[in-house]
Amino acid sequence: MTTFASISLMTTLASTDVMTAKLTIIAPEILLFIGAVVVAVLGLSRAPAVRRSVPLVTSLFLALSIAVTAYVYRLDAVYAANVPMPELGSYAKIVIAVIGILLVMVGSSSVDRRLEEAFDSGRAAFDPIRVMRGEYFAFFLLALAGAMLLASTSDLIWLFLALELASLPTYVMVAVSRGTRRAQEAAVKYFFLGAMAAAVSLYGFAMLYGATGTLDLIVMKAKLAEQTAAGGLSALAVLGGVLAILGISFKLAAVPMHFYAPDVYEGAASHTTAFIAFVAKIAGVLALFSVLSVFWTSEGLPATLTVVLWMVAVLTMTLGNIGALLQRNVKRMMAYSSIAHSGYILIGLLAGAAAGGYQAALFYLLCYGIMNTAILAVLASLERAGEEVETMEDLAGLRQRHPILAWMMAASAISLIGMPPLLGFFAKFTIFTAGIEGGQTTLVIIAAVNSAISAYYYLQLVTVPMLGTPNARTEGVHTIPSAWPRYAAVLCGLGVIVLPIGVSSLVKAAAVVGSENAASPTADSSDNQLNAR
């Protein structure tokens, strides 16, 4: 009781300092907001060169935000901001921005491409109403800003708003990513189901508030710990926790909130698919960090939440992997793959920070971002008769005409399987290690079986482009004029191969949610928790 009182006292007394500190640590996000405005304006320019510079400007802002993040997270403000996981942002924000740059490269020329061509050729006159590239990249930056904000969440309002900020722009991005009906259908499904999920998590937040009487995460954690110590969590808290987790798991595309994913990923343009696959996932994971850390006590997660997460993890990875087996559409396959990877990440969340689970999950997100972007960048850099290339048949024998793209796709696919010594292996390795250390051996074994299942469909991404024979259909497949998606593919593909050399520092850098953190159990408590079983 006294600790709780002192904490709340401290928060009120130091509130002005806290506010400054908070504003300091969200400097990268603020920068992205500014960037969003700038980009939106630039996109309306009459000069084609200016309009064409939009992706570049976007990247510049992202690069700047990396620098700012690197700077800001060396300040004391990080600890003064009274954020449950103060250092989280230093890794998460940089990862988001880096992958963001790659994603910009993938999508740089896709939005409005036909329209711009029409403008260039004089078939159409410039019309500010019809151009969308500016908006697209503005939304792009906003969503990234939302995801980044999730890394420095300190209360439920922030959490909710950041989640919505990460979500709402993506709905629009899906809709405008390409002019087809399928994209709009995808957007509709994404939006409505997303709204429902948001409502669910919001209701969960309300319950959490009801159970603890506070929205501040640190205070809430203390309150819940008190409840636990006093004989168990209240039903309200458990209900709130479950609802919040399930609502957020929509972002992760975790079972049972994953149904939208295949349709949306398939409907959106490839570059947007890459975007939502990564951004939504990292947003969801960061949000789950916050929610789960509230529940961690010295005894670990409450049993009910453990069970729920366990089941969700198992179902997510299993349904994701088996779903992907039947797919001929690469994007749809990658959707299921995304679902499956969420399942693996959930192992890290279940293992807890002390066992290195959060670290593993963060590292996993980075790896997943690179590998997934590589595959979709290859798709984005190809077209057939003006349409996106998205089925296996289109990729058959890709090696013969675009060997580098085929190799990059193969390397990334093999890495996604978890084949050592590629990047994906280290991602899985850290997750598995954390899982076993966190006492989730059974779960790890299930995940291991799942990764074997996944080998089947990932191998298709190797076999078809590398070994398939080109057919009449693939004759029409060629690269799009812009080379940026190809560069992105090569960068990601090389990253998959080369980054393992520096994997040590990457993993070390991900150790931002450590045991010294207030919001997560310490190593001792973890041991005790394990021992108590």
């Binding site: 050592p420 598995f432 076993i436 250390e437 040590s504 394990l530």
Partner: protein, 555 residues
């Protein structure tokens, strides 16, 4: 010296692979042949300089390159005599396989040779690894080059075969990974000294009754064995092998049989058996019975095969089950036999695949019903075929015999030599059933010889028309082909008559790495169970049980 040689062993194949990728297509095969030969020379130098022959202990090569120091993962190399022998075997077979492919591979040559060199690097890595993760990395990554080799250069069903091969293997080895990680995590939690993935550390740790309870050991053994069993391959999980062998290009089959399958047996010997003695002892009879079924079943299947390559593939299953039977007798004789079997199987089966490849190049069929009496056409080839068949069926005086005899003897005498120095499990009845395999193996191998080497001449009907590709090849073996087979034959003969230089260092190695067994085995034989603390440490050190699902105790 040893350190730089070991690095060279790993780097040279990789560098050569890169060189091939950038060199002109014409020179690919020459680079491959030259570099694999150089690697063999290096491996011989390595064996020459190797210091662990007499001690039997694993000689660390002090070559530690940290990869993930947070997890204690390094590229650390070390070798025991068994490992060095297998390195020699691998490095010996590689140049032969490469030279053997000169005429068979005419398309996508660069990829072919480059992948083979990558494969060689992984194989040498497995046998040199002293770090569990590095071991696993090499163990697993070998699938990729093999996958490409089968999928690009294989037979008609290559696609299905390669995918099956890959997934089957991968499915098995993820369990091994889980087992390795489990050991490492327990090490970290119980020792509190940070992470270590050093194989010896982990093995010593987990075989200690103070650290691992009975059920933990049991499950660790099960997890580790799952991956190794698929690789060996044990009886019910062997079905990838005939398909993969059948579809793989000749050199692929050679390496698959010669070195890749040894990953499994080596893994069992190097990791599974030393790390989890309780699991091994309790599951010993189960695995032995599996081996027996494998021996007899595969041998019988060989009998009714029409495809000669499949026949040899199934005979591999039978032979490796034999090898594992020897190992699971857990005594000195059997384990030594098992090791000899590994080497000899690599030589003779590898050579048989080479022989069959030579026929396939000429006749484009492996169907025994279409080929016959080739002695008349190709006496030199027939000589080698008969020679290696005899070596494969364990004719004394050739290499196959030593391993086979010792395996059988180890298995047979295991329950009796408890009065002697080195008690083992199993016993005469296992050996008696295994002997049936011996008889049947003579049967199918001689039937094979009777069909393709002896008898009236039978050539495929359309041979005259399809032989345009083979027109470059002489009717009988070319000098190149003879020079591939001759070294293997000579080595076979040498081992057959003078296996002692191999037996002595291996004996030491086996005593070292299975040091905990004799006592436990004897105890098990006397009491039918082992006195092993069910919960090893009760003083507040964390332990996560493998056998209880998390859910049941989550409350």
């Amino acid at each position: 010296m040893l350190k730089s040689l070991s690095y060279l062993l790993l780097l040279l194949p990789m560098l050569s692979a890169v060189a091939i990728a950038f060199a002109p297509t014409k020179s690919a095969k020459w680079i491959a042949a030259a570099s694999t030969s150089v690697i063999f020379a290096i491996s011989v130098m390595f064996a020459w300089a190797f210091t662990g022959w007499s001690s039997g202990a694993i000689a660390p090569l002090d070559a530690v390159t940290p990869i993930l120091p947070e997890f204690g993962i390094n590229i650390s190399l070390g070798a025991s005599s068994v490992g060095v022998m297998l390195i020699l075997l691998t490095a010996f077979l590689m140049p032969l396989a490469m030279i053997g492919s000169f005429t068979a591979i005419r398309e996508r040559e660069k990829e072919y040779y480059a992948w083979f060199l990558v494969l060689e690097a992984t194989m040498l890595g497995v046998f040199l690894a002293r770090d569990a993760v590095f071991f696993y990395t090499c163990f697993e990554f070998s699938l990729v080059p093999m996958y490409f080799l089968i999928a690009i250069f294989g037979g008609a069903e290559r696609r299905a075969a390669s995918i099956k091969f890959f997934i089957y293997m991968f499915f098995g080895s993820v369990f091994t990974l889980a087992g390795l990680i489990y050991m490492a995590v327990q090490y970290k939690l119980q020792i509190g000294n940070g992470w270590s993935f050093d194989l010896d550390t982990l093995v010593a740790f987990s075989s200690n009754p103070e650290h691992m309870s009975k059920s933990q050991q049991f499950w660790i053994f099960v997890l580790l064995m799952t991956g190794f069993a698929v690789k060996v391959p044990f009886f019910p999980v062997h079905t990838w092998l005939p398909l993969a062998h059948d579809q793989a290009p000749t050199a692929g089959s050679v390496i698959l049989a010669g070195a890749l399958l040894k990953f499994g047996t080596y893994g069992v010997y190097r990791i599974a058996l030393p790390a989890a003695p309780v699991g091994a002892i309790e599951l010993d009879q189960f695995f032995a019975i599996i081996c027996l079924i494998g021996i007899v079943n595969a041998a019988l299947i060989c009998w009714v095969q029409h495809d000669v390559k499949k026949l040899i593939a199934y005979s591999s299953v039978s032979h490796l089950c034999f090898c594992m039977l020897g190992m699971f007798s857990l005594n000195s004789v059997g384990t030594t036999g098992a090791f000899m079997y590994m080497i000899n199987h690599g030589l003779s089966t590898g050579a048989l695949f080479l022989c069959i490849g030579m026929i396939y190049e000429r006749y484009h069929t492996k169907d025994m019903d279409k080929l016959g009496g080739l002695f008349r056409r190709m006496p030199v080839w027939s000589f080698f075929m008969v020679f290696f068949t005899l070596s494969s069926l364990g004719l004394p005086g050739l290499n196959g015999f030593v391993g086979e005899f010792l395996c059988l003897m180890g298995c047979f005498t295991a329950d009796v030599d408890a009065v002697a120095g080195y008690p083992g499990l199993l016993g005469p009845w296992y050996a008696i059933i295994a002997v049936l395999g011996l008889i049947v193996s003579a049967m199918y191998l001689l039937i094979m010889l009777g069909k393709i080497v002896w008898g009236p001449l039978r050539e495929p009907l359309d041979h005259a028309h399809t032989s345009h590709a083979a027109s470059a090849l002489p009717r009988d073996l070319s000098l190149r082909e003879i020079s591939i087979l001759t070294p293997i034959a000579l080595v076979s003969l040498f081992i057959g008559f003078y296996p002692n230089p191999m037996l002595a260092p291996i004996g030491k190695d086996i005593e070292e790495s299975l040091a905990s067994y004799p006592k436990l085995v004897e105890e098990y034989r006397q009491n039918g169970s082992l006195v092993w603390p069910e919960s090893a440490k009760s003083d507040g050190v964390a332990r996560t049980e493998l056998d209880t699902p998390t859910m049941a105790k989550s409350r």
